[in-house]
Subunit: 112 residues, 2 copies
DNA sequence: TGAACCTATGAGCAATGGTTCATATGTATT
DNA sequence: AATACATATGAACCATTGCTCATAGGTTCA
């Protein structure tokens, strides 16, 4: 019997034309990796409500200052949070609205 | 000098009321972890265009059948893809529209 | 300048993750 | 039943990751 599942050549061509560059896909995957950790998600939930300094986030989440600082660095590198310095204290806040949208879509998917 | 950065009690209360349960946050993080790998993202891009069987996805992406099958299992567990069997062949396709939305938001964030 | 405080960072360790390899399961055909 | 083909899966291996610990960098105030 003939193999009837030969993929359509047009579809193959379209997929190849639409598939982003590897470099772009790495960046994309790296962005999602940032959301793939509960500590970082908790930090984002905190920042949904208010800007906050490192030590307060740490206390609120019951974690060490070091652990939070390390994760804020990751969030900062992905441009998901920004910060401002006020004396000794550094206040972190959300960088833009995509954070909220991405989280909301994830929540929607989970809650179905 | 008095510490002027004492976090507002109302904000603390609000954050605690809004913060989801740990179990939920684990599920959420697990969902994003799925998007945090280029192989899985590539598979999703393929399925944006058409349902496809395991061996064709493998060939299209230049990877082994085993590697693709393992990753499809992950995507299946997260309910991001569904499948139908036709004889020896198993066709995979996207489960719902959240996949597209989540990817699109990520792309938007990257491209800024 | 020295002390106190807040934050950042590098090294090390345990846990997790993605691929390969070998093999099992499932289906169709003869 | 036997063979061939498509897919699934478990174990092993190497790479990555999140935390801790110790410590460095920066800022303020006396």
């Amino acid at each position: 019997m003939v193999n009837e599942k030969i993929p359509d050549k047009d579809i193959i061509a379209k997929i190849k034309s639409i598939m982003p560059e590897d470099e772009f896909l790495y960046d994309l995957a790296d962005l999602y990796k940032v959301f793939g950790d509960t500590t970082r998600i908790k930090i984002l939930y905190v920042l949904f409500e208010s800007e906050m300094c490192v030590c307060d986030i740490a206390q609120l989440l019951g974690m060490t200052q070091s652990a939070i600082s390390h994760q804020l660095k990751v969030l900062k590198q992905s441009k998901l949070v920004k910060y401002r310095r006020e004396g000794k204290t550094v206040f972190y806040s959300l960088a833009d609205d995509h954070v909220r949208t991405i989280i909301d879509q994830g929540v929607e998917h989970i809650e179905e």
